[in-house]
């Protein structure tokens, strides 16, 4: 099993420099092959783990008796890694169609090898985060994903994209200082980098370490006050947004928080309080920011911010002793990735075929390009949390466990009520746009839309299926 995990990390990392040196016509093929191999590793790991359910940690890099990097295989890492490599492969496939001169919004003529090299490195670094058994490993790959995201967000190279990319790297790196301090503090006080060593700290020590971790996680997951980078990052090519800003980069934050909370038996409640309050504050902020958005991608960015708040809230509630809240968080990390990934790719397909992604100009998508229309419906329903789509199941788990814990902690009860209101509000808002954009007779831009390439249609179809079934994969593994 260890080899499947290493395959998910190393195959894309090896592929990354390779595509830089390949002749340009082979680049798309090669990157699809490498991302597919990584996906295969992830899938095999998922299957193997589903059968024997053996969680373990293997130390890999040790020097002078100190373990610097190791791999942890458990439900959390296996699930999230599967999501990372699966979406990685889908996005590479989608990009084969999207990153072409036929793209109406942004015809792509050069830089394709650079794009795939960064993308593959990103997939590998993500898998590196997911499997890391040490804080140092988490920090290392945290920074690696930051660097790749910088290159990817600024891909088009104009002043605006480069500035947006600067926002992303500077804000996330600044937040990462928390993780630097937490890691160094852990090492100094326990002599180990292992995530489980957090247990050996005193309560005051845990508070210091977790404060650092939480700050870093807020930065990466675009929570207040580090959020401004995410809406700006929407200048990135849409496959990048779909991968980084739905499935992977923003999930690094919540993942690290989940991983450290899971490894630590008892986390001080003050961390739970801080996490929950900031989550709901961010949630309200993100929700308010829905209303002025006309650019579909920016709307999705704010939606991502609020959905990540759900996950932060759930993990924070789990600190109060709710196993179900933690499972809800894991499920939401998993489900949201597919739903939001689909949503971004729908937005991308719309800009590819129509040349615009302004919500007010899109009408009658279902009529003209049915596959995109159906994708829109599935994604919107999943994000809003409507059964039978996947978002419903994880949101339900989070809210139920919130009410349970809320019986003893009025603060949590109040926060969870706000969450329910937000959930209803965003349902109405997405329903409104869905009605306006998907149904009815095609507007002018939609009527002139070109047919999306096969690769794009294939990926949309796979993701639509995933929004209907991903929750069962999670529930099966969590059982």
């Amino acid at each position: 099993m260890i080899w499947y995990a290493l395959g998910s990390i190393l195959l894309p990392v090896l592929g990354s420099p390779l595509v830089l040196f390949l002749p340009e016509r082979h680049v798309k093929k090669a990157s699809q092959i490498f991302s597919f191999l990584a996906f295969t590793s992830g899938l095999l790991l998922l299957i193997a783990f589903a059968f024997n359910r053996a969680s373990f940690t293997r130390e890999l890099v040790t020097l002078n008796g100190i373990n610097y990097y190791g791999v942890t295989i458990d439900t959390l890492s296996v699930l999230v890694n599967f999501m990372v490599v699966f979406l990685g492969w889908l996005i590479c496939t989608y990009s084969a169609g999207y990153m072409s001169p036929d793209n109406k919004e942004h015809p792509i003529k050069e830089g394709v090898p650079r794009f795939y090299a960064l993308m593959l490195l990103f997939i590998g670094s993500m898998a590196g985060v997911v499997f890391s058994s040490t804080l140092l490993g988490l920090l290392f790959f945290f920074e690696m994903t930051g660097l790749c995201s910088w290159g990817l967000i600024g891909f088009y190279g104009d002043q605006k994209s480069r500035n947006s990319a600067l926002w992303a790297i500077i804000l996330t790196h600044t937040a990462a200082l928390g993780l630097y301090v937490a890691t160094a503090y852990l090492y100094v006080n326990t002599g180990s980098f292992s995530v489980t060593a957090l247990n050996k700290l005193t309560d005051a020590g845990k508070t210091i370490a977790f404060t650092g971790i939480l700050i870093a996680c807020w930065g990466k997951s675009a929570q207040l006050p580090f959020h401004p980078w995410l809406p700006r990052a929407m200048v990135a090519p849409t496959p990048v947004s779909a991968y980084l800003h739905a499935a992977s980069m923003v999930k690094v934050g919540v993942y690290i928080f989940a991983r450290t909370v899971l490894a630590t038996g008892s986390v001080p409640q003050v961390i739970g309080q801080a996490g929950a309050i900031m989550a709901v504050v961010t949630m309200i902020y993100g929700f308010i920011m829905y209303f002025p958005q006309d650019d579909m991608k920016r709307l999705l960015a704010y939606s991502t911010i609020t959905q990540l708040s759900y996950i932060f809230l759930a993990i924070s509630i789990s600190i109060y002793g709710s196993r179900m809240a933690f499972n809800g968080a894991v499920a939401h990390i998993f489900n949201h990735a597919f739903a939001k990934g689909l949503f971004f790719l729908v937005a991308g397909t719309l800009s590819y075929t129509t040349g615009t992604r302004l919500l007010s100009r899109l009408k009658g998508i279902l009529n003209k390009i049915p596959v995109v229309g159906l994708g829109y419906i599935a994604a919107a329903m999943a994000i809003a949390g409507v059964p039978p789509f996947n978002g419903f199941f994880s949101k339900f788990m989070i809210i139920i466990s919130g009410f349970e814990i809320g019986r003893h902690y009025p603060l949590i009860l109040a926060l969870i009520i706000v969450t329910v209101i937000e959930s209803v509000g965003s349902f109405i808002w997405f329903l409104k746009w869905m009605g306006a954009n998907v149904l009815g007779a095609p507007s002018e831009v939609v009527a002139s839309a070109a047919e999306p390439p096969l690769a794009i249609k294939f990926v949309l179809a796979v993701l639509m299926i995933m929004t209907l079934i991903s929750q069962y994969i999670v529930l099966f593994l969590l059982s």
């Binding site: 140092l136 600024g154 190279g157 104009d158 600067l166 790196h173 630097y180 160094a184 100094v188």
Partner: protein, 495 residues
């Protein structure tokens, strides 16, 4: 393996001396290049040989105890050998361009290579001398040797830079001389033997018996004196001028190697002071100078427009980081500092050499005018980006590891808030260099600029430096690890 024993301590200075004399005597470009290449290769091989002896647990003594090599020496000689080789290698391609342009004639090139090897000679002497007075002389001599290289182009600005360089460093070194004399006198009071009171090995042995008050004073003088030459704030003012006016491979050698030689001068006094006056005093002093250097440099990096000046200030910053590591103290802090010395040598050499290519391509060093490097000269652009990422401590490059160790050492030493300040300052540097990459490397180049990279002679050394720098970030080979551990115990206990 050839067994040369302690004779290696004679070969090490003899080879650069011979090469220098030869180079001064030759008048043909081709010949001098061959001689130069043979010279730098031999020094590199000898340095590896010395490392091998030291790793076997030997400390070498020669010439009645005047020449000496232990773990710390071996580490420094390794840097002189390897980085000196790579910078020297890059010099060949760099000078050929000047020769082709007619800016330099064959005689000038011979002159350059001659002084290059003289500088190597003085650096090697500083590294292997066991006599603190000879060490001082050697370090002073490096100033003179390098001054000719800095002023190589004989521009007016270069002349001014050289003047400032020689003046400030010599004044600084006068302080170091006081420190040396104070140490000697306090040792003489103990042993009553002029020869022994000069030898570092003896000084370390008797450090506990030295007068603490005198040694405090001596350490302050040493730190200010040698500190001026490594560029610790506030004695750093000569450094940006000198580094930016020197030919790029010389800047690389100054920042990558020479700076480290002088730093090791301070390191030699560290165990003596540690034992004579306790750890509180030297550590606090180093920590203050360290953080001050990082802080001042951080803001200057942000506001400079000349990329070479930015890099020069970055050298000040990194000396500050090394001093912070030493100030944090303990085995971890010393290890962090020594590892950082290696990493900074590789990274800064890479950057200065890369800037050589960049400045030639664009005809300017102004960060506002250089655009789209990755599209104009992909290899150079990539190296510049990688070097800058490394210099700000981004993984997977090795400075990430040593900066992290410095942080951990500081926390271990109980300096929580100073370390938070340290991190915040590093973020400022991070922002400055990330913006520099965003502006110069990415984006679109000027329309009229022809595309194409420098010749392979100017690219291959960069590639090697890059591989070393990235490799050390992921894996520290066992021999290097052993060498570092040996050097740490030298700095902590003199053994």
């Amino acid at each position: 393996m050839i067994e040369v024993g302690e004779n290696i301590l004679f070969y090490l200075p003899a080879v650069p001396l011979g090469t220098a004399l030869l180079a001064f005597g030759i008048r043909s470009r081709r010949m001098v290049e061959v001689v130069h290449f043979a010279g730098i290769s031999s020094v590199a091989l000898l340095s590896l040989l010395l490392v091998q002896y030291v790793l076997r647990g030997q400390t070498l003594l020669a010439l009645d105890g005047m020449l000496y090599a232990d773990g710390l020496t071996a580490l420094l000689v390794l840097i002189i050998g390897v980085v000196g080789f790579l910078d020297g290698f890059y010099s060949i391609g760099y000078l050929r361009h000047d020769l082709a342009q007619g800016q330099v004639d064959a005689k000038g090139a011979c002159f350059y290579y001659g002084f290059y090897h003289l500088l190597l000679l003085t650096m090697v002497l500083a590294a292997i001398s066991n006599n603190i007075a000879i060490m001082w002389v050697a370090i002073e001599a490096t100033t003179l040797g390098s001054a000719f290289l800095v002023g190589f182009y004989k521009h007016k600005t270069a002349a001014e830079a050289v003047w400032k360089y020689v003046l400030i460093c010599s004044v600084g070194l006068a302080f170091a001389l006081y420190g040396t004399i104070l140490t000697y006198s306090s040792a003489f009071a103990v042993v009553q033997d002029a020869h022994r009171a000069m030898l570092w090995t003896e000084l370390v042995g008797m450090a506990r018996g030295l007068d603490p008050q005198v040694m405090k004073l001596a350490f302050v003088f040493i730190l200010i004196g040698y500190g001026a030459k490594v560029g610790l704030v506030p004695m750093h003012t000569w450094l940006p001028d000198t580094y930016s006016e020197a030919p790029s491979p010389v800047s690389a050698l100054l920042s990558g190697v020479l700076m480290k030689c002088v730093l090791f001068g301070i390191l030699r006094y560290y165990p003596i002071t540690l034992q004579a006056v306790g750890k509180e005093f030297p550590q606090t002093l180093l920590l203050i100078f360290g953080l001050l250097s990082v802080g001042v440099a951080a803001f200057f990096i942000l506001v400079q427009n000349d990329i070479k000046r930015k890099l020069a200030y970055s050298s000040v910053e990194h000396v500050g980081i090394i001093a912070t590591g030493l100030g944090a103290g303990g085995p971890l802090g010393i290890l962090a500092a020594l590892f950082h010395v290696i990493n900074h040598s590789l990274t800064k050499s890479l950057l200065f050499c890369t800037v050589g290519n960049v400045a030639r391509k664009y005809g300017t060093r102004d960060a506002q005018k250089i655009r789209g490097m990755l599209k104009v000269a992909p290899f150079t652009g990539f190296m510049f980006m990688a070097g800058l990422l490394a210099v700000v401590g981004a993984p997977p490059f090795s400075i990430f590891v040593s900066e992290f160790m410095t942080l951990a050492a500081g926390l271990q030493g109980g300096y929580f808030w100073p370390m938070i300040l340290f991190l915040v300052l590093l973020v400022i540097v991070f922002v400055a260099f990330i913006i520099l990459i965003s502006d110069t490397v990415l984006g679109f180049p000027p329309e009229d600029l022809p595309r194409g990279d420098a010749g392979w002679l100017c690219l291959l050394p960069l590639g090697i430096l890059f591989l070393l720098m990235a490799g050390l970030g992921i894996h520290v080979p066992a021999p290097l690890n052993q060498l570092l551990q040996g050097a740490v115990s030298v700095v902590l206990g003199g053994k």
